[in-house]
Assembly symmetry: C2
Homo-oligomer: 170 residues x 2
DNA sequence: GTCTATAGTTTGATAGAC
DNA sequence: GTCTATCAAACTATAGAC
């Protein structure tokens, strides 16, 4: 609270005038950070390109959002790690639902014979994990500077997914 | 420290007799938790099956480890989220290096024309994200009870990867 | 609405007896 | 090696003046 007060150039008491307690302040901050990201993806879905291009656009947007706003990503990750059932429901229903459904729809189009829910989760997990594990991945042999360029990450993820969807299961 | 003392049925002072401070105690706990997992994967690499089967075995082991020991996974995830450069190097070099290298070798065998480092990261990210996001995923439409069964998760991840590796890039 | 001052807890860590 | 007792600092939150 002291650090926050310093950052916003107010006293701790002034903050407590606007928020009843620390937990509420935290929750409202999380909600604000989440909701401000929604519109980034809107133009991907509204665009008139092919399903494959839409997937590429979604992955690229997701990677960009995470790289450009690491604090937002950490906040979200910590929230999911905590895994409080009530908050998870709030988060899923109130914030991410529409995005996830649009992604499932796209998954059903690209890979009709697979489970759309699992495919959607794979897309998100794949795109996120790259940025997330970057600080660790840098320390493994075989790491190259281009591995932290958004375009390269997004291209690799998209290619891996598209290739998988194209494959005819023998 | 008081909670820990209660859990191990000792006084706080007794703990401080064995560890110089809280940070060292924490770090040694992390290291211990990590190292105790190493052997789980050994038998996968030592087995005499095909590359594809080895990938399946690795993914299955990873999913199992994460599901069976969520505390370990949370600990690791929190550590990576913190992203302290010194600790990341320690973790990568001292604990995960050999596993990552074996996985890169397998990736080179299965997908020779792709970047082994990125493929290895994809395998881990894909397998981990499923278990990680489970509390959130449950709240989306399209969720089924089988989505939390280790076999189902591992099979989906493995199939997605194998399909992608098989695809001939046009 | 904002401040200073401070109450009431909890925390990490230590002293000293046994 | 373990305990009880305790310290000093940091924490969340509030009181009351302006």
């Amino acid at each position: 609270m002291r650090q926050l007060a310093l950052a916003v150039d107010l006293s701790v008491a002034a903050i407590y005038h606007h928020f009843p307690d620390k937990k509420t302040l935290y929750l409202e901050s999380v909600r604000f950070a989440f909701s401000s990201k929604e519109e980034v993806f809107a133009q991907v879905w509204e665009s008139n390109c092919s399903a494959e291009e839409k997937l590429g656009g979604f992955v690229r947007s997701l990677v960009d959002v995470i790289i450009q706003d690491r604090d937002f990503h950490s906040l979200m990750q910590r929230e999911i790690l905590e895994a409080d059932p009530e908050r998870m429901q709030l988060l899923a229903q109130g914030v991410f639902k529409s995005q996830f459904c649009l992604l499932m729809q796209l998954a059903a189009e690209l890979a009709p014979e697979q489970d759309a829910h699992m495919v959607a989760a794979s897309v998100i997990g794949l795109a996120k994990s790259y940025v997330e594990y970057q600080p660790l991945l840098k320390n493994f042999p075989g790491w190259k500077p281009e591995h932290e360029i958004p375009e390269v990450i997004a291209a690799h993820v998209t290619k891996l997914l598209i290739n998988s969807f194209k494959a005819k299961t023998a």
